[in-house]
Each structure stands twice: as C-alpha cells, then as structure tokens.
Symmetry: C2
Subunit: 151 residues, 2 copies
C-alpha cells in the first residue's frame, strides 16, 4: 500500500516504520492520525482535536477510531497520554513519544504547552523516593499558569 499523506515523505515513511514495529497494520486512519500529531502546532492534542481537524481537512474518519487508535498507540508507546486539568474539563491530550522524558508548563489562558526537563528535580525525586522507600514507576509534574509574553 502506498499512501500520500503529506509532502513530507520522510515523515510518512517514518510513521509506517513506527506502525510496523508496533505490530499494527498500516491503515489510512492510523497514518492520518500520526500525521496530524506530527504536524500539529503545539504537539498536544485531544482525541476530539484530532478528529475535528481531520474532518475539517475533508478526511473521512470516525471519532471512535481516533480513540481506538490513540489507545493502541499509547500501548505501543508511540504516543503519551496526559490529563491536563487546565480548563476544568477532563479530556486527555496526546503527544508523540520521542523517548525523551520531560515535564510540562500549561497556560491556563491559551492552553499553550511547553516542555521542560530539569536534572535537579529529577534527581531530587529519586532521592525522595529512596527516603520514603518508594519505587517510582512513573511521575507527572505539571505547572499551571501563564506565559508572560502571551498575546
């Protein structure tokens, strides 16, 4: 199967490799969703964001499929699911998993998301875990507020 999803052919090919590695068939919906996540502006989209944008692009896809595919991608570690509490509504947002761990600053005004990584905090978390006899499997750290240079 050959699919032209965007002009960035390298990205399409990469997608296919990712899917293959995950043991997932390369289907149109999956490629569309990956492509959308790759091209999205702030790289953090809800299932509905993805669905609406695809529909807007004239694509044919169902919301159920978006959810199913994202769940599979999460299991395959292709994407990471987050639950930002920004706007009170509790919908999950997804970002591509580039393998680099990072935390998030989320704007309460615009929803803008910035990723950051801090060695000092990471180390301190490990020290604290040891102190409390706790084995960290995962962690989430999100700063909510606003960027002072936002329009």
């Amino acid at each position: 199967m050959y699919i032209v999803v965007s002009f960035k052919d390298n990205i399409v090919i990469m997608s296919n490799i990712e899917l293959k590695n995950a043991g997932l068939k390369i289907t149109l919906p999956r490629v569309k969703i990956l492509s959308k996540l790759e091209s999205s502006e702030n790289h953090h989209m809800s299932a509905e964001d993805i669905y609406k944008e695809l529909i807007n692009d004239g694509e044919v896809i169902s919301l159920a499929t978006v959810y199913r595919v994202l769940t599979q991608f999460e299991a395959a570690k292709i994407v990471i699911r987050h639950h930002f509490e920004s706007d009170g509504n509790s919908q999950a947002v997804f970002e591509l998993n580039h393998g680099d761990h990072h935390d998030h600053m989320v704007s309460l005004k615009t929803g803008k998301v910035v990723e950051f990584y801090d060695e000092i905090i990471e180390n301190r978390q490990k020290e604290l875990a040891k102190e409390y006899n706790f084995k960290i499997v995962d962690h989430s750290m999100i700063l909510y507020g606003e960027f002072l240079d936002e329009e």
Copy 2:
C-alpha cells in the same frame, strides 16, 4: 442545631466553624462528609468512597449531595481536589485542606497516598518558571509507583 457526629467533639466544633466561615449552613450531610474526611485512613477519598462508607455506616445521604457538597467545599478551600491516574479510572479524590502545600506519592498497588514537601524542588520550579517567563498559578506533581514495605 446541635449534632453529635463523633466522640471527638473538638473536631465537630471545628467543622462547624469551617462551615460557618465559608458561609455554608451547618447541615447534617455536610457535617457527615467533613467527619468522614477527617476520620478516613489515608485522607484521600473519592466522592463514591465517601458515599459508600456513609451508607455502610447506616447514614442516609445521596451521591448527588456528596458531589455537590465536595464542590462547595473545594470552592471554599475546605478541601482540595486531585486527579490521580493510578488505577486508570479518572475519578477525583479529595483531601482536607490543612493549608500546607505538599505533593504526593501514590501506590499503584494499594492506592496508598503519602504526602511530601521538598524545598529544593519547589525552588527549582520557581527558577524554571522565571527562566521560561512563566507565572505559576498552581502545580501538581505526583509520583506513581509502590512502597517497598507494602503488604
């Protein structure tokens, strides 16, 4: 109105003051819920936890009221609402607000919650915010894993 909720009279009286300060009438459901939060083992309960335990105690209350009261308590800063992602289910948990900021370690096995506070991390967050030109309004930091001394 005089209500005997528990033998710890001081706690009942404190509850009433909290409610009064929040401009909330002292009603039976509210006192029961506060009392349950105060007496709960790990101090982090979902609305349904509270509801079920009260029903189990032979109390008469509706789940809708538990939700409504908890929402009012949150607005009045009597409780804090959290969204732990431990068990995949996304139900909110509530804890009494004792005014001291802290973060959480959550056991994925038992749901046990331990609070901690670390000056180094807090300072580092502030430094990072400055660096990114970001004004922190709130933050959440949760470590998920397991306590090595758990049964």
